[in-house]
Amino acid sequence: MNVSSSYEQLIAKKIAAIQVPDLQDSIWASIEAQLDIPLPVEEQPAPPARNPTGKGLPGTAKLIYVAIPAVLITAAVLLLFRNKKAKRKQTPVPQQLLPVEKKQDDSTIRMPVIPLPQKKGIFESQQDSTSVIPVATIPFTDSMLPVQLPDPKPDSATTSIAAPPPAQDTASQKTGVKKPKGIKGIRDTDYKIKAERKDSAGKKP
């Protein structure tokens, strides 16, 4: 609380009564001069782009923050799918016992698929009395099978010209002189190992 003493009040009255010097012109001139001076323009940083909603991040920043994770997630999902597909292609088909039946007359090889017995091993199955020889094979695809093209029909225009021989699979054909195999003096029969039959079917009671 302001408790000014009486002499202070007297001083205040006396000072308020002091005549002001006539300096109006000089004061106005000074004011005019100061107002004529252009204010230094403060370079304010450009305001950030406003979010239309007015909340949170500005529009472009929000878009970036949303778009980048979305792109990353989709890329990751695509990669996972690709990897899965690749694995599916690479995973070998469970080994199957295929009885090899070759029919010389037929142009294609038909291989009936017999599923591998679950509990029995390969050696156990060899001891079976069945005549099927278990062979672990990779499934044949169409590209692996030899394709036998039909013989070209003789065209009337080309009858006089000798028609080229039909295309033949060189891999399956035996051409030229057969090279002697192995070391001289050792016959093919020497390589063969004859397994003694332990099959119960062969035993006579």
Binding site: M1, N2, S4, S5, S6, Y7, E8, Q9, L10, I11, A12, K14, I15, A16, A17, I18, V20, P21, L23, S26, I27, S30, I31, Q34, L35, L39
Partner: protein, 143 residues
């Protein structure tokens, strides 16, 4: 101008304070709110703040807490007999901070709390400055 004269050291200083205050007023006229007070009050506030800035430029205000000194009584008759110009001259001879506190308290009617807020000092420091001013005036006026 009379308000500026209380804070200024001389007439030229007072004129500078007034011109600066008017320039500030013209430049910040857009911030004037008539609901908060009249234009005259607003201008006086700007003028006082400008005068205090002038005083602050003259010396640094001590932010240390100063103990309040005992008040020295002054005879009213002496003050009444004294010339106004002479009293004002005595006030101008006070140290800047003491000068500001005395004018704000004794002439403008501010409280110590308000003075402390304006000058960024404590209430006790404001009281100390007032006490110092009174002692000085009492010494000079009684001589």
């Amino acid at each position: 101008m009379s308000v500026a004269m209380r804070y200024a050291l001389d007439e030229q200083d007072a004129a500078a304070i007034v011109s600066q205050a008017f320039v500030k007023m013209f430049r910040s006229i857009h911030s004037y709110n008539s609901t908060k007070g009249s234009c005259h009050v607003w201008l006086k506030k700007i003028l006082v703040n400008e005068a205090l800035d002038h005083i602050k430029q003259r010396s640094r205000f001590s932010t240390n807490e100063l103990s309040e000194a005992e008040e020295a009584p002054v005879n009213n008759d002496i003050v009444e007999q004294s010339d106004a110009a002479a009293i004002l001259d005595l006030i101008r001879r006070l140290p800047p901070a003491t000068h500001a506190v005395f004018v704000l308290y004794a002439i403008e009617g501010y409280t110590h709390k308000e003075i402390a807020g304006k000058l960024n000092i404590s209430d006790g420091t404001s009281k100390w400055h007032l006490s110092e001013a009174r002692k000085f005036l009492q010494q000079k006026l009684t001589k």
